[in-house]
Symmetry: C5
Subunit: 337 residues, 5 copies
């Protein structure tokens, strides 16, 4: 660890020795870069102006790349400058991380990472702690990973860790979509269900927008437009690309499933409406017919023979009851209740 808390500079020397540079040595990185076989990894958290000064001085970072660093919210991309490539990627922030960037406040919190790669070095810049960088540094320090001796291998390790972070997000979405479908088929079409639909759609759109350009980044690297990637590492970038394609496939599947679910919802609602209206119609008729009969015998005509029949009243009640029962049965048979 260096003196400044937001800096970690590691150097792996040709023999395999790993050492972290202290503050004073940072100014000498441009010398180290010239030694063949050295692999330098400088990690910067929350870059301040002096850090950017260091990048410009020691790593000849292009003014446009500096501008991107200062503005943030860049699209995932590979920018190629003379002697240097700048890769922008987004990792999924884990719960509890503080300074997560999510362009529109929706979906999983995403952390922007800028990677500067050139002959013999990789510089990673991020805002807030990055779980991806910590995990890869751990592996790099312990040298479990045979890849950790070249820039290409190190770049792969970081990007692979980034992509692996998306799989739990997909699993979570899959579960939420299943639950959503159960709610809709189960008849719960209230406001909360709708809010959930909108929220899942937003997340899918957000993820797609972040991941599609990351796939293009992987493809650019794979097509060997970045000369730092040796032949032996190419299959690894192929694998990275495959994973991103799989993630995007899955997102498209989810989008289609949500669309199917919404269509189903509309159908369910329409069917329910029909059922309700049938019931209303049936109930109206069943209740209005005896009301009409009662109205008839409530008329005040002087000569209404039925009124003086001894059994007039019970018969009238019976007729009403029969009307209710008959009409009720009729509509029941038509499945209108």
């Amino acid at each position: 660890m260096t003196g400044r808390p937001n800096h970690v500079a590691l150097v792996r020397f040709p023999g395999g020795e790993l050492r972290s540079l202290d503050e004073a040595e940072l100014g000498q990185i441009d010398k180290l870069r010239e030694k063949p076989g050295c692999l330098i990894w400088l990690d910067i958290t929350d870059p301040a102006d002096e850090d950017i000064g260091l990048l410009r001085k020691e790593f000849d970072v292009h003014p446009l790349a500096v501008e991107d660093l200062q503005l943030r919210k860049q699209r995932p991309k590979v920018d190629t400058y003379p002697g240097q490539h700048v890769i922008v990627t987004y990792e999924v922030r884990r719960a509890g991380d503080e300074e997560a960037t999510s362009a529109d406040g929706d979906g999983p919190a995403l952390g922007e990472i800028h990677l500067f790669v050139g002959a013999g070095y990789l510089v990673s810049v991020h805002w807030g702690p990055s779980a991806v960088v910590s995990d890869v540094r751990e592996r790099f320090s312990k040298r479990k990973d045979a890849l950790g001796t070249t820039v290409g291998g190190l770049l792969y390790a970081v990007l692979d860790e980034v992509v692996d972070g998306y799989f739990p997000v997909l699993d979570d979405l899959s579960e939420r979509i299943d639950e959503l479908e159960d709610r809709i088929v189960g008849g719960n079409q209230g406001g909360s269900t709708l809010r959930e639909v909108l929220s899942i759609k937003r997340e899918l759109l957000q993820l797609r927008r972040t991941l599609a350009p990351q796939r293009d980044v992987a493809n650019t690297l794979l097509r060997r437009e970045v000369e730092l990637i040796e032949d032996a590492i190419l299959p690894y970038f192929q694998d990275l690309y495959d994973h991103l394609v799989r993630v995007l496939d899955q997102l498209d599947l989810y989008r289609d499933l949500v669309a199917a679910t919404l269509d189903a919802n509309l159908s369910v609602t329409s069917n329910n409406l029909n059922a309700i209206m049938k019931r209303l119609t049936a109930l109206t008729v069943v209740l209005m017919v005896p009301t009409l009969i009662a109205g008839i015998y409530g008329m005040n005509f002087h000569s209404m023979p039925e009124l003086s029949w001894p059994l007039g009243y019970p018969v009238a009640l019976a007729v009403m009851g029969l009307a209710i029962a008959g009409l009720g049965l009729f509509f029941w048979r038509k499945d209108w209740f």
Copy 2:
């Protein structure tokens, strides 16, 4: 058959002799591979760690391919490593097979197959018994199939069997869609119909997602990016590709038919709603008019001349009857009943 139950290693020698290797010989496969004209087929069911060790030692399988084997649920793909291609494909599991992999629990059960092909050998790895592999092995043993003497021919035989397995699934879907259409046009728009729509949609999406990359696999093989496929076998891979295109065409047709059916459903529901509302309106009017008349003659005004008319009551009843009949006829003519 070899000693270990999950291993079958067959070798066809240049002269045409077919022999299965026993456990001891497995460790010598790398020697056999060097003999020109030999064709080795090693089939592994439910690969354990020792099987993977065998693959690494005898067939120089790349660590990434091993990782894919261990993780499973790979996308159908062709991965090219030095001297070896790895092809991932999915067969339709037949009813009764136990360990079927279906990524999201929907659609027909699919079984993942990893094929490692190189000069003179094919290794197939699957989980649970594979009907495809058994069938091809049967044909291979009896050498009915002239193709069974080269790696390309053997690869074709396996993939062709895989693709043929999808046709019954398509037929089944076609029947279910026809039945669905009948149900909807026949007016059955209940929850079970909807559940069936959702289930068919899911299956179509699932199948498309599995088969589209398999078509890309066939195309890769066809474009001769895999050097193991001789000229004489190319038409067979063209045929394989054609079959996959046909299957995907069919899936797209089914998707469009389901969409058309759903649209029809919405129209049917809306039309029904209109019919119901017309009926409700007509019934309301038909019943309320005589009720109003009865209400009028139920008023208690002292001087209501009609009340004392001898024919007042029957006339009132007749007026009500006429109102019901007239309005009923009116709405009947307007086709509101």
Copy 3:
């Protein structure tokens, strides 16, 4: 005509002489094929096993092409084998033809045709009588058509006749869509209209699925991937391709028109529903207000001064009448009736 009823073998000799081969000569076709300048056309209806044997023996048909012949229901395609191309196409069967193939039982009946072309010969195979083949043979025999002297010209003549058969189908669809639109705008939204929509949609989908690959076939031929097509005939294949593009354009237009019509239907239905509900509301109010008035004067309070007014009854009736008229007018003005 040859002895066997399902065989017609015609040979045009270099000098222009046209002769049909008899049964015995069929076995010598491979000799004829070697003579330069000869053009052989063998037409087979309902191929039996012996016909397929003939194809294999005399024309070296590839096993895969034989398999396609036996399975039928192939996608329209061009398959290239050494020295031979196999083209699969579908003609529209005219009414009255018996054995028409329609993959899903919908749309116009389609007849599958397999064409085998090579240097100096064309073999056409179909099931049931083919109007296309008969018409072309007629022209070929009379040699009206200057094209009939090369394989490319003959192939064009057959395919052009196939494509021309689709135009009447399009005209029929166009009329049905116009009629459908009239029905919907005219308010007929019953089940038969819907069934017609579904049926037109199915037909459009079916035709598109058959014709899109036929366009690809024409394009393949046009791009000169089939070496049998001379320069002079290329414009004809360009014309064939243009016709297929026009047919497909038309199909897409029809699809969009049907979609627009369905949308219109939904709008019409919704508007109608609103109109019905407004009427129901208006009628309910118009009838309930006088009923309420009648109810009031039907109450049995001892001191209801209006009851003993001499003009009480007519005034009450007048109030009811005014209420009906006033409310009726009110809703009429709001256009709710």
Copy 4:
């Protein structure tokens, strides 16, 4: 003007002299064509058989192009024959023109134009008077236009005039869509609105179908696949292509606006339905409650103390009035009226 009224043959000689050919000279056009520097423009209205004979004899028109002339209703396209290109395009017919071709009877009337271009000549064929051809001939005669000295320039002049004719149609559509939107937002969702939507949609589809291939024609000319277009004229064809792209962009925008308007219509209708149903519910309750009260005091129980209260009747009326007022206020507050 020549003798036959449907022929105009103009020749611009190398020195700039412009002369119209008479009937006798028409048969010598093939001689004129051989003179370098001559530019011949033959315009034919309503081609008869003898005109087609002239085209075949003097301009070596290919049989397929003749067939297209006779069949008409061709797709806009560029057909390339040896030494000649045939371009099919459609102009917008101005009001009052008689014989306008509109494939499906909808949209603006379109006039088909066939242009035959080759070294030193352009032949234009159309049916009915063509405003485009007249306008360009006017300019050509007066030689205002510096372009009028090469075949490429003349072709550009005709096609540019064709494309310019589409802009008024677009403006008209734009106005109709604006008006449509006003009608829908203003609540007019009757049948005439719907008919207008369908009519606009049909026109947009029709125009798109005609213009998209015309853009392809412009692109073909621009890509220099037609060797008659000199470098100096290329920017003009680029301009032509840009105009067509702009027209198509505009059509797509209109299509999207109409779709948005229809969606809005559906939303408006649904919202209106909800409002109506709320009102119906509120009115039902407001009127049924006093009716129930009146019903209660219309019962004939012997001992109903309220009936003999002196203030019974006015109190009952007041209770009814309060019920109406209170419920009315309640629903008013809920915004259900």
Copy 5:
């Protein structure tokens, strides 16, 4: 500043000196253009005929480019003429600017800018004051910007300023969409909401139509089809392209969000309708049952024993009350109120 108010002509001489040309010198620009190392920037506001004459004389502007200037409303594009490129772009006009061009009167006001670039000069033409041009001129005059010494750098500066102007528009749209979503989920589905949806959709369509061709412009410049752009400036044009892709991505996201919101709206409306109809049904039943009971005891039969019961009346009232309470509770439990 020159004499004419709508002209500003600045020249940066090789040594870095910056001078504005006066009216007399304008006629000598063609001489200045020949001096190597000079960079001329002529800005014209509201071009009049004499300005266009100047452009034609001093900068050899092509007649077609002049025509575009006079017609205005061009699509964003790069037109290449010999020795000159013409770029059409649109800036967002800030509030208060007067003469803003907005093709269809919707969306943010856009100002058309035509840029003529050639060796050593850039001419910008716009209508009304252009904030973009003013800002860049400010920077150019003060030479803060190291880019301001080449035509490519100056062109980048102008286009970058143009693109930066779109970001506030995007932020504004994002806020309006969020607000819209809140309104809809909050149940406000009135006409103003709908008008807002339509207005946002129009704006998105309008912006997309303007920005998509601007991206193509950036891509054309990036692909080095314009020879004026040196290697050192290429990354800047890459950055410009990236920004435009980001803007378009964002627009697509907004479009999808608005679509999701509209779908949600439809679902909300349907659910509300169902809820209203359930309530109507429940209220109808709850009120009609006691009305029926009252009707029964209002009948005039001579012998209705209940009428003479001392407790007849209170019991009847109690039964009515129980019916209301019981049915109310029943529907409450079913969540129909």
